[in-house]
């Protein structure tokens, strides 16, 4: 239940974790990316989400990224740390540590892979809330996690003290709308997939985006979508939404999400860096397709950048 605990509002990019070619975290690029996104209008950042390849980061590395983020932009925007893992005890431990390094809240998905029941999921969040006492943004991404936080489940979770919001990334927009209706008064409802439906989500009652390709690749233009939508500048917002939507469609399936995003960022001279194994950097063929999609969206100054 939020009850005034946080006032999260606006576009919160889920930031990439740039690695060097041999898999080390590239601190310089990580901080540069945060500075850039905040200068372009981000009002918060989510560190170590799926976009940040959270699965590839140890607990110590996540904490270090939280600290870097807090020091770089923490005075200007909200910093949310992704602390999701499978064993409840480990999530509690990392969440408490994240609170100690000063994050404004944490983002946690239901435990994936272990096939939990609804009762297991509720108990998971309840335990984290009771133990860590810090604002929790639930992350619902049923496709990756294998458990769906429907409106009904969200409503039940909204009664837990420190559950203050939800990043609703269900692909089913009806479920998104139902979530706003069921618990928009108790939770800050953010939408995922803002490149596809950010405008519609704001109209349906979203108070923010956890964005990815649209902010990292389109920069200021993509980030502005939220404010335009909130201010009722629908025509402008629609134009941008069409561009991010088309680009998202054009690159879908070329490679895995972070691989595509990092390649596109690098092509633009933005601080993307490399992914970490098991994800691989884009192959030559994949890079050509990504470049073509970017060219199609008019994102590249020239149509021929050496691959």
């Amino acid at each position: 239940m939020n009850n005034g605990k946080v006032e999260w509002f606006g576009n919160f990019p889920a930031v990439v974790s740039p690695f060097t070619k041999d898999g080390a975290i590239d601190d310089g690029k990580f901080v540069a990316n945060l500075e850039l996104l905040v200068s372009e209008g981000a009002r918060g950042v989510v560190v170590s989400g799926s976009n940040g390849e959270s699965w590839a980061l140890s607990a110590q590395e996540r904490l270090r990224l939280f600290k870097l983020a807090k020091n770089a932009v923490g005075k200007r925007v909200s910093v949310i740390g992704g602390t999701g893992m499978i064993p409840t005890g480990s999530v509690v431990e990392l969440t408490v540590a994240a609170k100690e390094v000063g994050v404004d809240g944490v983002m946690i998905m239901p435990p994936y892979y272990c096939g939990p029941s609804r009762r297991d999921v509720i108990a998971h969040y309840k335990m984290i809330s009771d133990e860590a006492k810090t604002p929790i943004l639930i992350y619902n991404s049923p496709k990756a996690v294998g458990f769906d936080v429907t409106a009904d489940v969200a409503e039940e979770l909204s009664n837990i003290e420190w559950v203050v919001g939800i990043k609703q990334s269900t692909l089913d927009f009806t479920v998104f709308e139902q979530t706003v209706a069921a618990c928009g008064d108790k939770l800050r409802v953010f939408t995922g997939h803002s490149a596809k439906r950010g405008l519609a989500a704001v109209i349906a009652g979203a108070v923010g985006f956890v964005s990815s390709l649209d902010s990292h690749v389109f920069g200021r233009e993509g980030i502005s979508l939220f404010d335009l939508a909130v201010n009722g500048e629908y025509e402008k917002a629609k134009q941008i939404q069409m561009r991010t939507l088309q680009f998202d469609r054009a690159v879908a399936g070329i490679a895995s999400g972070p691989t595509i995003m990092k390649a596109a960022m690098n092509l633009l001279g933005r601080p993307g860096g490399y992914p970490r194994r098991p994800l691989l950097e884009a192959s030559r063929g994949e890079l050509e397709k990504i470049e073509a999609a970017m060219d199609g969206a008019g994102l590249l100054k020239k149509s021929s950048i050496a691959a």
């Binding site: 994936y112 892979y113 272990c114 939990p116 297991d120 998971h124 098991p278």
Partner: protein
């Protein structure tokens, strides 16, 4: 490519990891389970698979369980250690340590949750084969990982030097057959979901299966299924298979797995123990349902007040 590296065959039981009520590993129960299953005819063990709540165990705990299994099973019984981790480098590191800890091979599934593409999956296993240099038991479990290794991809992975076997847990029986046809001569294709199809899989040519629910709940009766199939005892074998199907189908409707299996084990006086959070133990109502299932199958004499 197996090429004589291992001669794994039979019923390999994927072991439960019994926890105490406060979440510690109950080592005594774990070893008792290994000994019990061996006495009932198990041919090998998978330690730290999905049945063992691998997602709840840290690396040290996994290595400890590998050592305990080896101690309990003696030197000759094949022990496969579940070493899947999402990060390629960490999975390799743990796999090497598992072999040192006494495992004959490691069970590796494609990195779940990171949603890798085919090129990334190949890279993951190529690296593992090149660096671990010990038998790797490939594990295809689309329901949990969200990734289905198609028979053609498995066949390609089967060319890697140290990929010697596969646990094929696709629900699609046609794909199990296709896998056997494509690479059954190069790797040992074990069937998953043996409670549903273990008997038919062996009749079809699988050298074995990885079992879970039925072996640990029904014990000797279910474990005998592999030998019945090898001996061509169709009538007896299918009778057992029907009972394991009945068990599995009704248990799927109660709580989560392996919490439901552990409850059944405990009700029967077998060493199941508790689950570790995020999985909770079954509640009273669910426990009563499990007891009812066991009674209906004649495994439990009467409904024990939960």
């Amino acid at each position: 490519m197996n090429n004589g590296k291992v001669n794994w065959a039979g019923n390999f039981v994927a072991l439960a990891t019994p926890f105490t009520k406060d979440g510690a590993i109950d080592e005594k129960m774990f070893k008792a389970n290994v000994e019990l299953l061996l006495s009932e005819g198990a041919d090998g063990f998978v330690v730290c698979g999905c049945t063992g709540e691998v997602w709840s165990l840290d690396n040290e705990e996994r290595l400890r369980l590998f050592r305990l299994a080896r101690e309990a099973a003696g030197p000759k019984v094949p022990i496969i250690g579940g070493t899947t981790l999402i990060l390629t480098s960490k999975a390799i590191e743990l796999s090497k340590a598992a072999i040192t800890a006494g495992c004959d091979g490691v069970l590796l599934m494609p990195p779940y949750y990171a949603v890798p593409g085919e090129r990334e999956i190949k890279d993951y296993f190529k690296r593992a084969s090149d660096e671990v240099k010990s038998p790797i038991f490939l594990y295809n479990m689309p329901k949990r990982t969200g990734i289905n290794l198609a028979p053609s991809l498995i066949s390609e992975l089967a060319k890697l030097e140290w990929i010697v076997a596969l646990k094929q847990s696709t629900n699609d029986f046609n794909e199990l057959e296709a896998t056997l046809a494509e690479c059954g001569d190069r790797i040992s294709v074990f069937a998953g979901h043996s409670a549903e199809r273990g008997f038919s899989a062996v009749m079809l040519g699988c050298p074995g299966f990885v079992s879970s629910m039925e072996s640990q709940v029904m014990g000797r009766e279910a474990i005998s299924m592999y030998r019945l199939a090898k001996e061509g005892k169709v009538e007896e074998g299918t009778r057992v298979q029907r009972r394991t199907v009945a068990l599995d189908v009704s248990m799927r409707k109660v709580g989560t797995f392996p919490a439901n299996m552990k409850t059944a084990m405990n009700l029967l006086g077998r060493p199941g123990g508790f689950c570790r959070q995020p999985l909770l133990d079954l509640n009273t109502e669910e426990r009563a349902k499990v007891a009812d299932i066991l009674v209906k199958l004649g495994l439990l004499k009467q409904v024990i007040a939960a």
